[in-house]
Symmetry: C2
Subunit: 152 residues, 2 copies
Amino acid sequence: MSETTLEKPVIEGFAKDLVAQIRAEDTHGSWDRKSDMELLEPFIVDKEKRKLIPIIGDPDPDTLWRLELYYGALCLAIEKRCGKMVSPMMKMSHEGFGRMVLICGRLVVLSKSLRDVHRFGFLSMEKLNAEAEKVITSAIAMIERFPEVADY
Amino acid sequence: MSETTLEKPVIEGFAKDLVAQIRAEDTHGSWDRKSDMELLEPFIVDKEKRKLIPIIGDPDPDTLWRLELYYGALCLAIEKRCGKMVSPMMKMSHEGFGRMVLICGRLVVLSKSLRDVHRFGFLSMEKLNAEAEKVITSAIAMIERFPEVADY
């Protein structure tokens, strides 16, 4: 939205994978002129922004789509590190509550209860990367612990 | 719909669990006067009935609901036999294609690709019971093979 050049900040780590995932879904090239930073911006929800998002009713489709992008990118990042395919499954029950699992073979490498999905986002880019790194590391640890189930 | 007394045929095995599951969702007692057979009837889709269901567009909500009832009842049946909680997760992608997984702890005890969900059903009550028994047996075998993952 802003006209300032936001290209400058270096986007590293998982955030880079996430941008790649977002661009991969842009089959019509509508975002070609958007900077990486602009694409990531909706994922960054600081305290001020958070307060402004009501948690009434069901989360809007854009938020759900971002949630799917985030977990989809996590799957790819895990896959990149261990060479095994990982796929996400989400179940939204009502009013922003739900569950997300990432599955590798017959192993659930991540199981997360979702709540207040309306406010899905990260305080900062650093927090996004740190959180993703935590998930990836723990998923890899699960796969290494139960290789037979992951390869089933 | 029919006025004949269909109460007579004995409903056994998994079909009985399925009826219990259907009745459990009937919080307003609207089906109190329906026989078990009447409640199961939509799950029985023989060749003639099958042909009449178009597989165009997305499956109708009633069909999806029956799918969830069926897998929900399977989870309970597995739970009854092994004492461990099992929960279903479904992902419908488009036009009746999707995936269903039943999860116990961190173990995927059943993973099934769904297709032509519009026509979800079984040729007969016997087929329904036989198919369910197969799923339950194989789920229990998975749990017994990987107890540590199921109890994770």
